[in-house]
């Protein structure tokens, strides 16, 4: 094993796959000469050259669409958005073309493409730079949505995403790029659509994904001291969702808390809650609790941001609510 940063895990995954498949290229703002806005493509221009590591102008609609079009003539592009907030000006190409073209063409045009970049909040960036759209993309048939939470998962999942023959939305975080973690020296792949139990527990199931899961880890440590054992499930892939892993855990703990860094209305948490009541209603000993961001745009002031964002204390309170303890 070796210890690397999250950004290095991303870089290794892309580079390893590009060495094996000539049809893969990376395109995005600042990915080449600048080495990536968050240095996730550091050194890649030197290794692969400007044909395969391409600086795009600030035109997410245009370069996203060009990348989708190139899948029709044999490429397997990786599109980097500086953040998924910026993907909104190009979302037509993701929703109307990438996600649809295989079905609309009767299977003639598969769309092997990865759209990747940071999601959710990253400090006091204000309303337009703090949004999480996992549920928007996960709502769209034709797409797959992957949200890793550590370097090991990021590398294995990104390699799987690049090899996948369907369009994959791969969501990272500005605040995770510096996170360190162990990864194997050799090659490994983590299959899409399979959740991971990050912490075994017996009393309450906590389902989460992405960087906010770290708040659940903190909560788990504190709760353990109080004699409460939580099981933390990392979805890893939001669509398709590993419902089975959630249900199995809930059948064991009989209590569920969902932690998601996104707005509550029609969220991933909402979907999980629906599935659990449908498939494990008789196993539940308490109403399902969900923790989301506030139902408002993010605000700049540190006090307001703290109010907006879920934290470990919120998790502790939600867990205790499912146990009817204070």
């Amino acid at each position: 094993m070796k210890t690397i940063q999250f950004r290095e895990a991303i870089c290794e995954a892309m580079s390893e796959e590009m060495r094996m498949d000539e049809s893969i290229y990376l395109i995005g703002e600042e990915v080449a000469e600048y080495n990536g806005a968050y240095k996730a493509s550091k050194g890649m221009l030197d290794e692969f050259g400007e044909k395969r590591v391409i600086d795009a102008p600030i035109a997410e609609l245009g370069f996203g669409g060009i990348a989708v079009g190139s899948t029709m003539t044999g490429n397997r592009p990786i599109v980097e958005y500086m953040t998924f907030n910026f993907a909104l000006v190009g979302i037509d190409q993701i929703i109307n073309n990438a996600a649809k073209i295989r079905q609309m063409s009767g299977g003639q045009f598969p769309c092997p493409i990865v759209f990747r970049g940071p999601t959710a909040s990253a400090g006091q960036l204000g309303a337009t730079h703090s949004q999480a759209f996992e549920n928007w993309f996960a709502n769209t048939p034709g797409l797959k949505v992957v949200v890793p939470s550590n370097p090991y998962d990021a590398k294995g999942l990104l390699k799987a995403a690049i090899r996948d023959n369907d369009p994959v939305i791969f969501m990272e975080s500005e605040q995770m790029y510096g996170d360190k973690g162990e990864v194997p020296e050799g090659e490994y792949i983590i299959p899409l659509g399979v959740a991971d139990i990050k912490r075994k527990g017996t009393d309450v199931t906590v389902v989460s994904f992405g960087k906010i899961i770290k708040e659940a880890y903190k909560a788990a440590e504190i709760l353990e001291k109080e004699g409460i054992s939580i099981e933390i499930i990392d979805l890893r892939t939001v669509r398709p969702m590993d419902t089975k892993a959630i249900i199995e855990s809930v059948k064991k703990t009989n209590r569920l808390v969902i932690l998601e860094e996104a707005w509550p209305f029609g969220s991933v948490a909402t979907e999980i809650a629906y599935r659990v009541q449908e498939q494990a209603f008789d196993y539940l000993d308490a109403p399902i609790q969900r923790i989301n961001t506030a139902d408002t745009p993010a605000a700049y002031s540190p006090v307001l941001m703290e109010e907006w964002l879920p934290n470990a204390q919120d998790v502790i309170e939600a867990v205790k609510a499912t146990l009817y303890v204070k």
């Binding site: 190139s70 003539t73 073309n97």
Partner: protein
């Protein structure tokens, strides 16, 4: 350019007449509610396709992508028209097995890459196809078509910029038929010459009399050669006209009957037929025979579409993902 011969004129006449009658048949079966959804017909714009086909390398090397007025382009490129008709009927024998419908005809084998329903959404795709061809050094050129309405989308400007920056082998065609649905070109921009949008990107550009397939072929030949040489894109404004409404629900209050009649005087099919008659390429008998053959061929398409089966319901889940056994969420 490949010489325009007697055979060219005869084939242009046969093809354009067939496309016209094919669209007329669709209008008829649409009224009978056998074809549903939206229906956008190509009547009047045939010279653009005829001229393009004259300079394309068919069989998959050169490619075409367009918007939702897209029934006859694949036919011109070699797709069996029966399969296009069947797609509009929603039948399993259709080009997309009934998954696409009127606005989404595709045939990769023949180099026809759709058939796109979002105005301007296919413009970056066309440049992307050319990007792939350049990347893999295939020598193929993409013809990327869109209407005058799409010329007002931001996607055009972003794509023009990158296509020029990267010298992609693509020819952009705006089929200016005068109206973006019901809004005339004059009412959508401060300028009238859409081709001049190329100037801002230093893209070779110009207007073309697109009621005449010879003029289209000449302009396209130069543009295709430029792309093949590696000198990048061209933007051509095809000045054309559509006789029918934007779609079948269009009452056409935005124009006069006289205007439509004026354009019919320079109808592309009539123009070609006039040359055929003048040069005595065909006798009156032979012309009548062509008309009869076209009618029969259209009838065969209708019969095929009528008699074809609908897809199995399971097909709904078979073509969304390449992944087999994708776990779709239960919906009822």
């Amino acid at each position: 350019m490949k010489e325009i011969t007697k055979e060219t004129y005869i084939n242009w006449y046969k093809d354009m007449l067939f496309w016209r009658k094919f669209e007329d048949k669709l209008a008829a079966v649409y009224i009978q509610q056998k074809v549903r959804g939206f229906l956008h017909l190509y009547n009047g714009q045939e010279a653009i396709l005829a001229g393009c086909l004259h300079v394309m390398e068919l069989g998959g090397k050169d490619k075409m992508i367009t918007a939702y007025r897209n029934h006859v382009q694949p036919i011109g490129m070699g797709v069996d028209p029966k399969r296009v008709m069947a797609e509009l009927y929603g039948k399993s024998t259709g080009t997309s097995h009934g998954m696409g419908g009127s606005m989404h005809i595709f045939s990769k084998e023949h180099g026809f890459y759709g058939g796109h329903g979002i105005v301007g959404g296919q413009i970056p795709l066309g440049a992307g196809m050319a990007f792939g061809d350049k990347y893999h050094n295939t020598g193929g050129v993409t013809i990327c078509c869109f209407g005058d309405g799409a010329a007002r989308q931001g996607s055009l400007h972003e794509t023009f910029n990158m296509a020029m920056l990267w010298k992609l082998p693509v020819v952009f065609i705006v089929e200016n038929n005068g109206y973006a649905m019901g809004t005339s070109v004059e009412r959508t921009a401060n300028h009238q010459d859409i081709w001049k949008l190329g100037l801002g990107y230093e893209m070779p550009c110009g207007p073309v009399d697109a009621m005449n397939p010879i003029k289209v072929a000449e302009a396209m030949d130069e543009a295709m050669e430029r792309a093949r040489r590696g000198d990048g894109p061209t933007f051509l404004e095809m000045k054309t006209y559509r006789y029918r409404g934007h779609s079948m629900s269009d009452a056409q209050h935005y124009r006069t009957k006289e205007e439509v009649e004026e354009y019919k005087k320079i109808d592309p099919i009539t123009q070609v037929l006039d040359i055929i008659k003048e040069e005595k390429y065909l006798t009156d008998e032979e012309i009548k025979q062509i008309d009869k053959d076209v009618k029969n061929k259209v009838a065969e398409c209708e019969k095929f579409a009528e008699e074809s089966p609908y897809p199995d319901k399971q097909q709904l889940y078979d073509m969304v993902y390449e992944q087999e056994n994708y776990p779709f969420v239960k919906h009822k």
